[in-house]
């Protein structure tokens, strides 16, 4: 039997430039289609989404930071799993990953209402790619259909591939380097790190780190870090955007 894993992430907010590599790499990996013409920032599909937050001041006192928010893989009272009427959400006891089963989902979106992190997304449209671009789809992830909810699952296709590679070599344990989610691999600044939280050697749960909306007690597996106090305060606010209509630039 495999050793119990608890996969998690550490995101250094002070290194994130908000370039968006993680967001597009996630879409490439997980076969998420480009936006429908009618989509906007409320109904698009972005399993990982980088929010721009600021300290609330005006130019030149304003300071901005970028916080990537993905499924926080809650370990306690997982809000989405507890409300799903279809048992389409489960928490894998061996990896700690919160799994979402589009095939079981009936599209009621109760989980989206329950998720305090807005990390679940609904397929409002049929998945469509520009002609020819479907050739670039990743064979390790099945495209979803219209009418179901989806979310980050720590690139489960890559976990499958790593398991398969280990099995082919006759091993039941994967090499940690073989399982790296797409956003982690894509991050040019090294702000996102990934690993087994049970393994003390990887320093993901640094004492200075914080988790989003700690007061809810959902025990997320995504640990954030920042030396800036105002960033740490923003991370405890219910919606991590200070003024939604404000844009960022790049």
């Amino acid at each position: 039997m495999n050793a119990q894993k608890k996969y998690g992430m550490s995101i250094d907010v002070d290194r994130c430039t908000g370039c968006g590599s993680c967001m597009v790499a996630c879409a490439v990996e997980n076969n998420i289609p480009p936006a429908h013409a009618g989509a906007n920032d409320r109904n698009g599909l972005t399993w990982i989404r980088v929010y721009k937050v600021d300290n609330g001041e005006d130019y030149p006192g304003k300071r901005s930071a970028f916080i990537p928010v993905l499924c926080q893989q809650c370990g306690e009272h997982t809000p989405c799993a507890s409300v799903c009427p279809q048992q389409a959400v489960d928490v894998d006891p061996r990896t700690g990953i919160v799994g979402q089963m589009p095939e079981r989902c009936l599209g009621c979106r109760y989980c989206m209402a329950a998720c305090p992190y807005h990390a679940r997304y609904f397929n409002w449209w049929d998945p469509r790619w520009p002609a020819g671009m479907e050739k670039t789809l990743n064979p390790d992830v099945a495209p979803r259909m219209r009418g179901v909810v989806e979310k980050c699952n720590f690139c489960h296709g890559r976990w499958h591939a790593a398991k398969q590679k280990a099995a082919a070599a006759g091993k039941s344990e994967i090499e940690p380097g073989d399982y790296v989610p797409a956003c982690v691999e894509a991050c040019p600044t090294g702000a996102i790190r990934f690993g087994d939280l049970n393994d003390p050697s990887n320093d993901l749960r640094h004492p200075d780190s914080f988790r989003l909306l700690k007061k809810l007690g959902t025990d997320p597996k995504i640990y954030y870090r920042s030396k800036r106090d105002w960033v740490r305060n923003v991370a405890q606010a219910s919606r991590p955007v200070s003024s939604q209509k404000e844009a960022s630039h790049g």
Binding site: A27, T46, P130
Partner: protein, 582 residues
Amino acid sequence: MTTTRRDIFKFAGGSALGALLTPAPWRLITDTALWSENWPGIPRPARGEIRAKFTHCSLCPAGCAVRARCVGEQPVSLAGVRGGLCPFGVTGHQLPYHPARLRQGPVSEAMAAVADAIAKCGPGERVAVLDLRPGRTASWTARRAMAVLKNGWYIAPVQSPVAVDLTKARTVLSLSAPLLERWGTPANVFAVRDGFRLIQADPVESRTAALADLWLPIRPGSEEALALGLAGQLTSAETAAMTGLSEHQIESVGQTIGFGRLSLVIDRAMSPAVVALNVKLGGWGRTIVPRAEAPVPPEWKKAAPVTDLAAVPDRSIRVLLIDESAPGEYLPWDAIEKKLAAGNPLVVVFAWSANGYGRYAKYVLPTPVYPEATDDIPPAIDSPAPCFRIAAPLLAAPAGVVTPSEFIASLAGLPPADALRERARAIHQGGRGTLVTYADAKSVPVKEVKPDDFWKALNAGGCWVGQALPPANFRAPVGQALPPANPSQGLVVLATPPAPSPASPLFTKLYQESDLLLAPNCIALHPQDAARCGVSAGNRATLETPNGKWSVRILTDSSVRPGVVLAARPEMASASGKVVRV
């Protein structure tokens, strides 16, 4: 005996009950559910053997090393070899399927028209190639071709004569250079980011400014004044007046970067004033070095010189061939247009999409796009050593596209030889430097590699790295003090760092499904300015500058300096813009 209505109902009732006791209805329900999961409206990813291929990204001058995950021959995802890729690089394999991709063009017709126009060139009229990314092997081919034509000219944006060595710097002062966004090679920059203190002088709180150790909010356009001030060519008071910083701030920066402190000053293109300041700070041979190029075969030296567009006489170009296949620096069209001969000049554009100069051209010829294109990427500005790396194609280019350098070479009757291979041979004959291969992460001296293996390794995503040039005597160009800019009439429009355009269709994740990046059809301005112009966030408006008018969507952002408009398209940049609500 007759069948009554009642009999039919009884029979139907019996059948209904019977049917419920068979698998049929339940099976139909299950099957329908399964069909809905796999119905033909959902595309199916192709399956097959998965393998890794290596290449270099040619979307920008950084030329990051790329590992492509391929199913059969088809790349399905890209990753960086030495650190992550930018979002453009991550989605590069989707560009061949971009809806804006050009696939057909009148190649033979354009060829005949160009040959005809060259033959009919009047005295003093010229044939010119405008290359947006000079220094490539394809650029050398164009230069050789222009040397063969007696009235040929090779025009390219001026390249900085220096490269920087970030590994040596303890303090970096960036004058609006997007160091942490799109300047140099991301893997190199972030590998040493913790080794230097970053001071960002920037009119807006750019991404680099947001993560800098110190952000100096200067007036737009006053970067050069700050450089001259720090070099002592302007007084603190003059510099303060021009940059909008306090004298104290300027003096404090001056002390931080002071002489001999391993400081590096950069701006977007390493302008002469900035190079002069670095030399003055003692950085020559340390933090800045002469920019080195990979060797070329000796017979290529008879190439046409590189001419700056500004040095070309007005109204002198009869035939202009613009190579846009490798995106580079943006040159405003009106600067190009005034160099064209009066009366029906012939403009041919080589591009993979119709987004660029194509709209001004008589012929637009489709080119291969990364990762179909075979090209090399000259050393980036943060590469102190020369290098030679090939963007080896991962996909076959479709029929009907044309490689610009082949087209240009055939005009001059140059043999259609493989210039990249010739250059690789010359590098190998030089015998210096090492060959780095990514598949096995090895680095071998070139002397120990056979010529054929060298060529093969380069095409499999290898990279030749030479030795940095010894710092020769360098005469620093003298920066000139500029007169203080006139107070702008209206708003100053600044452009975000230039990006490959168009980007993958998946960029809707960053433009439309979130507002992470400023979309090409959006502008951002301070809420006060927005109120003054009578617009608010989400409104449609027109941006008017002397260069043109654009229909844009408004975003408000209090990290943009009042009086400044931030736009994503370089052609919108202007010293005086106006925003009008539609």
